[in-house]
Amino acid sequence: MASLRNVAVVGFAQAPIVARDAHRIATEMLYGQVRAALDQCGVERDAIDFQAAGSADYLDGRPFGFVAALDVMGSWPAKPDLHLEMDASFAAYYAWLRIQAGDSDTALVCGYGKTSEGEPDRVLNLQLDPYYQAAIGLDPTSTAALQASAWMARSGATDRQLAALAARRRAAGARNADAQLREPTTADELAKTPWAVEPLRQGYLPPVGESAVCLILAAEGKAEKMCDRPAWIRGVDQRIELQTLGGRDLSRSAGAKLATERALAMAGLARAADVDVVELCATTPAEELILCEAMGLDAAGSRPAINPSGGPLVGNPVMMAGLIRLGEAFRQLAGRADGHGVAGARRAIAHGAQGHCLQQNVVWVLGDERRWT
């Protein structure tokens, strides 16, 4: 592996995930996070060389609405900018790439969007091709249920196992001040909830939630000045898979597997299990189990700690749930995870996903030490 620039996460601010913020528009929600993240780093926005965001205009009901967020992020003096209609973790990946290019040392990465304002099932149906898949009315909960059924058929996983995993995440979420679901519950209770779409029960899935997040990346030389404990990016990889659900083996995540292997190789690690904390962007218990298999992790093990924040099962703001995983990895390594901190965490993996049935995956490997000398 050629030597790359050492880049770190140096700041992260997140609005607590709520069902609906009735008082603020999306850019108002985001503005506070941009200011908070800059404050954490002790800089003004003129210290930021590049900015990138992930959002979906149709979720907000404002086609071309992403331009409104540019002002909040900092469009003056005129800035180089990137917007993705993807989870903002992928925007962070391109910001990292831009810093590798050498003309930028710092980047602001934002995810935002008010899912409560529209009809997310109908909007996210449009991620599928219009002829074969969108036309029969598939929504993300139904495609997730298709994937869960394929996983359960192959692995023999039971409804009870999904309930147990969801209950563990709910217990973790109770310790995370930014989580939407903060009431712990039992697997027994969750297993009594009605089907959302069988084989997924309502109790296993996060409700509609919205937030706004801002994360700051900085290259070595500046990162140390902006953060006392930077979370150094030691490896990262991003992979996309087929759009046609029926062309994939939905019981597996080939993209997450390959991205993990490549990111670990960049980081100089042999196994995902060698880190202390893993944050997975899994929006159903079945997705989480599929990801654990793909990454070689024991979903029921205690180390590495998996989703100590509770993960997307306790709060799934669409288009930023992945970037929150990267922010959570930073919080763990920087000692800022407060109530859900993992003692002694020095290495972390943060996973992001986009699209139906984990179509696209990005995997970050972070540590408290620089990768390249």
Partner: protein, 148 residues
């Protein structure tokens, strides 16, 4: 804080999508022939429904191959509370992926009856929409039904 004001907005833009040479030919087979055609492509075998190229290696689609209207369910999602203006019917139904006999990939569709008998591995067959209702859409197959 005072009660927040809200504005209700509907954004509506109708489209007239081309169906193209490959998808259009597949859909014409449903509409005019009540036959299901796939395309043989490198790396994937017989792809149903076809897109004109291999999604796995990018090679161009090859010969057209008719597949049977029967097949096996590879994934099933039972919907008990259909979503208005999105789902294809108002009563409980199931989304399924069906690997049709003769195909190597699975088609996404719906099953409307016998939901309790539906499993991964269940055999199903296509139910055609009436002649007057077929428009050149994947929904020219009205649904699949469990083969008894």
């Amino acid at each position: 804080m005072t009660e927040p004001l809200e504005q209700r907005v509907v954004t509506e833009f109708p489209y007239k999508h081309s169906t193209g040479e490959v998808i259009g030919r597949f859909l014409a087979g449903l509409k005019d022939q009540k036959r299901i055609w796939g395309q043989r492509v490198a790396g994937q075998g017989v792809v149903v429904p076809p897109v004109g190229y291999s999604e796995t290696d990018g090679s161009a689609g090859g010969e057209w191959v008719e597949v049977k209207p029967t097949g096996v369910v590879t994934a099933v999602a039972r919907v008990y509370r259909p979503i208005a203006q999105l789902h294809p019917c108002a009563e409980p139904f199931a989304f399924v992926l069906v690997k049709l006999d003769g195909a190597d990939t699975a088609l996404a569709h719906v099953v409307r009856d016998d939901l309790e008998r539906l499993r991964v591995g269940t055999r199903v067959e296509a139910v055609w929409a009436p002649d007057a209702d077929r428009t050149g859409s994947i929904r020219d197959i009205a649904c699949f039904r469990v083969i008894t």
